[in-house]
């Protein structure tokens, strides 16, 4: 397969130059390579998106897809795994989507450890609704709904994921295409809940991100032990999503571990339900009532 196999004919309506296109490209490449490597059955791969600029990726990837409600990527992903454990489920969420409207699901998804890959397009704004501050926006940011300046520090989503039990935690940068592709491949291969915080600087509503990232982003050394939670937390705290001064912004795999998956707790969840022909034994079912 080549990445073009994942093209659709839909018109791309992201702003020209929006790094979302980088994410799209990396995702296509990751999918194609995994398929070629025999590590992915494309017909079993399904993407789920929220509502926001990020969600448009649904239309640009020629893959099974569910473009859901704002904030609800993760429960849909979870349900898919309950409906068919063979599916490879890829969530694409916005940061507003995932950490404002839907943060309850994120906290629990980390805990459940279903075999899902969750990629969050971190642009530190509600972009599609014209750039209001969200849970990841730095303190002091001024926008339409917060003209007095965002009052609180943002959530560090990596820390949240690590503390709540995600078994794979990484950060990518939309403009580091090949590297992001590798991270996406690793996340998909990982068995369990894999979270990638993808820095996706919005060039309309959060213009100061891209130059900052281009200056400060660095790749975590390959040699590092990714099995140490405390080290991962420390690394995750290196950048606090603020822009007041230059801080190093690490990208790469922060943490990876193994834990039984969510799906494995049900012995009866072995194959897709739709392939099952049931034969209800009614007299057995009603026996207990007499």
């Amino acid at each position: 397969m080549i990445r073009q196999d994942f093209n659709t004919k839909e018109e791309n309506t992201w702003c020209p130059g929006c790094p979302n296109s980088g994410i799209l490209l990396s995702a296509k490449e990751a999918l194609a390579e995994l398929a070629n490597e025999g590590k992915l059955s494309v017909k079993d791969a399904t993407l789920v998106t929220g509502i926001g600029c990020h969600g448009k990726i649904y239309d640009y990837l020629n893959l099974n897809g569910f473009n859901g409600l704002h904030g609800r990527v993760l429960p849909v992903c979870l349900g898919m795994k309950l409906g068919n454990p063979d599916l490879t489920v890829l969530g694409f969420g916005g940061d507003g989507d995932t950490f404002d409207e839907g943060v309850a699901h994120f906290v629990h998804a980390c805990r459940y450890n279903a075999d899902i890959t969750m990629m969050v397009h971190t642009n530190q704004v509600f972009a599609l609704t014209t750039g209001q501050a969200n849970a990841i926006t730095e303190k002091g940011f001024v926008d339409g709904s917060t003209p007095l300046g965002q009052g609180e520090k943002p959530i560090n989503s990596l820390v949240l994921a690590l503390e709540m039990g995600a078994t794979f935690v990484a950060r990518g940068y939309a403009l580091q295409g090949p590297y992001l592709k590798e991270l996406i491949k690793k996340a998909i291969i990982h068995e369990g809940f894999a979270f990638i915080d993808i820095l996706q600087p919005c060039i309309v509503y959060h213009k100061h991100s891209m130059p900052y990232f281009n200056k400060n982003v660095y790749k975590i050394e390959e040699t590092r032990d990714t099995g140490n939670l405390n080290q991962a937390l420390e690394r995750a705290r290196e950048w606090d999503y603020s822009y007041e001064k230059d801080m190093k912004v690490p990208t790469g795999v922060f943490y990876e571990t193994k834990r039984p998956t969510f799906e494995s707790q049900w012995p009866q969840l072995k194959k897709p339900w739709y392939a099952l022909k049931r034969n209800i034994n009614w007299s057995r079912v009603i026996k207990e009532f007499k």
Binding site: V76, G83, A104, W266
Partner: protein, 537 residues
């Protein structure tokens, strides 16, 4: 024979379990039984009680006059003594305590002593009782059976209740159990729910039996997760049901709209309780009807049915799955605490003959389109994993499921989705959307759990028929309108404040119903209450 038995006590003392066991035994003896449960929202203490109505004729309701009061505490006697019928008996601590002491068992054995006492009165075969106890309590039955025997010894026989040859043992089943096995009969794969009274019994029932029935039951972090996960599972091809009560349903209403837009099958079990807000958490009411009919933003089709008893709960649940899967629309089963937590008795319990088909293409074509426009509006369904790309989209979309914003596709898709209406209507017309009981020029109208009390009161309402409406959406307007028009006097009966069904009937038929018998204190109707109000109209 007709007897009414109250069994009461503080929460935790066991009245509900005992009432259920007593009901089962009477059923075993061939009697008809209706078991009503009343309890406040607390875990230990307070006052719980059950009312068992036993009869040799079918019975679907309870009353507040008792032949027996089985008291697990003094409060039970204090509260209910006034309702003891003439010649009625009270069994309580006086009878049970000596036995419990003698057995040196836990206080909970009082229940079993009472069972013994009661069935001795009826001269029931001790063996039958002990066998039932074995079935229910399994390994723990030892002491319990002793206490029953002691009670039995202590009792005084006044009647001789034997299963006469013609009378079969009855099935004894609650509304919740019926919904659950209806879902199983329909081919349920995945049940998702966040606990909420009175929907939780379905969650518990199905969870416990998930391995036996090869289904999956899961309790997600909240109701929003429930409905969205359900749509994920449905997209993946699972037959999926969710369950909740009003507050949780409100949280699901955005997801309901999503179900309609994505055209993914989804069955929602909605157990009503008195509201607004948290209301009376453990009581009953029918206040969510119009919400169920109109929940969710935008205009879209849905199926809303409401069974009137446990047997109907089975078949309506199957129908909900059938219609939802076949037409790719959400289906809501509207129940309430009274249906959910009451036990009904039947000679047989039947499932409907509707197929449990998945309505999923065996071999979807390579050019498959998730939202293909067809003559009846239903796009043949494929699921991911089959091969072709499958899509579900919350935005307005074209046939392939891609997002669109233009005028032409919007119109086509809105039309497509509504096209199904006529076909669903036709299906429903074949499913007995209403039932008529009795004879007369006048008409009672109701829906849902009120059926029981109405049926039992009907013989006392001369010249009245009873029209039970089982489908609220699509509404069987023609039949309802015809029945109303050919009646002289029409009375609506509803467990609600304003009589929402009257609004629905008016919206659907234009007919105003002037007389209403309403009850909105959180308690269900009794035949006596109905007849009393009836006389005043």
């Amino acid at each position: 024979m007709e007897k009414t038995i109250l069994i009461g006590g503080a929460a935790g003392l066991g009245s509900a379990v005992t009432a259920h066991l007593i009901g089962r035994i009477f059923c075993n003896l061939g009697c008809y039984v209706f078991n009503y449960r009343d309890y406040p929202s607390l875990i230990r203490g307070g006052h719980n009680f059950n009312v068992l109505k036993i009869s040799d004729k079918p019975v679907y309701s309870h009353e507040y006059h008792y032949d027996f009061i089985l008291a697990l505490d003094q409060k039970t006697i204090d509260i209910h003594r006034k309702d003891l019928k003439k010649g009625g008996l009270i069994f309580g601590a006086k009878e049970t305590e000596p036995v419990v002491q003698k057995l040196q068992g836990p206080g909970i054995l009082a229940n079993d002593v009472l069972i013994g006492l009661l069935f001795k009165y009826f001269g029931a075969d001790l063996e039958i009782i002990l066998t039932e106890a074995d079935e229910i309590f399994g390994k723990k039955a030892g002491l319990i059976k002793k206490a029953i025997e002691e009670g039995y010894k202590l009792g005084v026989q006044k009647e001789t209740l034997r299963r006469s040859s013609g009378q079969e043992a009855k099935y004894f089943i609650s509304g919740s159990e019926a919904i659950s096995i209806g879902a199983i009969a329909a081919g349920l794969d995945v049940y998702l729910a966040y606990p909420m009274t009175p929907a939780s019994p379905v969650l518990h029932f199905l969870a416990k039996r998930q391995l036996a029935n090869n289904i999956l039951v899961f309790q997600p972090e909240n109701e929003i997760a429930v409905v969205n996960a359900a749509l994920g599972a449905s997209f993946a091809g699972a037959k999926t049901m969710v369950g909740t009560s009003g507050g949780g349903f409100a949280l699901m209403s955005e997801g309901l709209s999503l179900a309609a837009m994505t055209e993914l099958p989804l069955v929602i079990y909605l157990g009503q309780r008195p509201a607004p807000a948290t209301g009376l958490a453990t009581h009953t009411g029918q206040g969510d009807l119009k919400f169920a009919l109109n929940a969710g933003h935008g205009e879209f089709l849905r199926v809303v049915s409401s069974p009137g008893d446990a047997q109907e709960a089975i078949t309506r649940t199957q129908e909900a799955f059938y219609l939802s899967s076949k037409y790719r629309v959400p289906a809501i089963i509207l129940s309430d605490k009274h249906l959910a937590e009451s036990d009904y008795s039947f000679n047989e319990i039947k499932k409907s003959a509707l197929p449990d088909s998945r309505f999923i293409l065996e071999n979807p074509p390579q050019d498959y389109k998730s939202y293909k426009i067809t003559a009846n509006g239903v796009s043949p369904r494929a699921v991911p994993g089959q091969g072709p790309v499958v899509r579900a989209n919350s935005y307005e979309h074209n046939e392939a499921g891609h997002t669109i914003e233009d005028s032409a596709w919007t119109i086509k898709m809105q039309d497509k989705r509504f096209k199904k209406l006529d076909f669903i209507k036709r299906e429903i017309n074949k499913l007995n959307p209403v039932s008529l009981y009795g004879k007369g020029n006048n008409l009672l109208i109701s829906y849902g759990s009120t059926k029981g009390a109405i049926l039992d009161a009907l013989p006392q309402m001369k010249n009245f028929r009873f029209l039970q409406i089982s489908y609220l959406k699509p509404f069987p307007a023609e039949i309802v309108s015809k029945e109303i028009k050919k009646s002289k006097k029409v009375i609506l009966i509803e467990n609600g404040v304003k009589g929402s069904l009257a609004d629905v009937i008016k919206e659907e038929t234009g007919i105003t119903i002037k007389h209403k018998i309403l009850k909105y204190d959180g308690r269900p109707f009794t035949p006596e209450f109905l007849v009393d109000k009836f006389k005043k109209i």
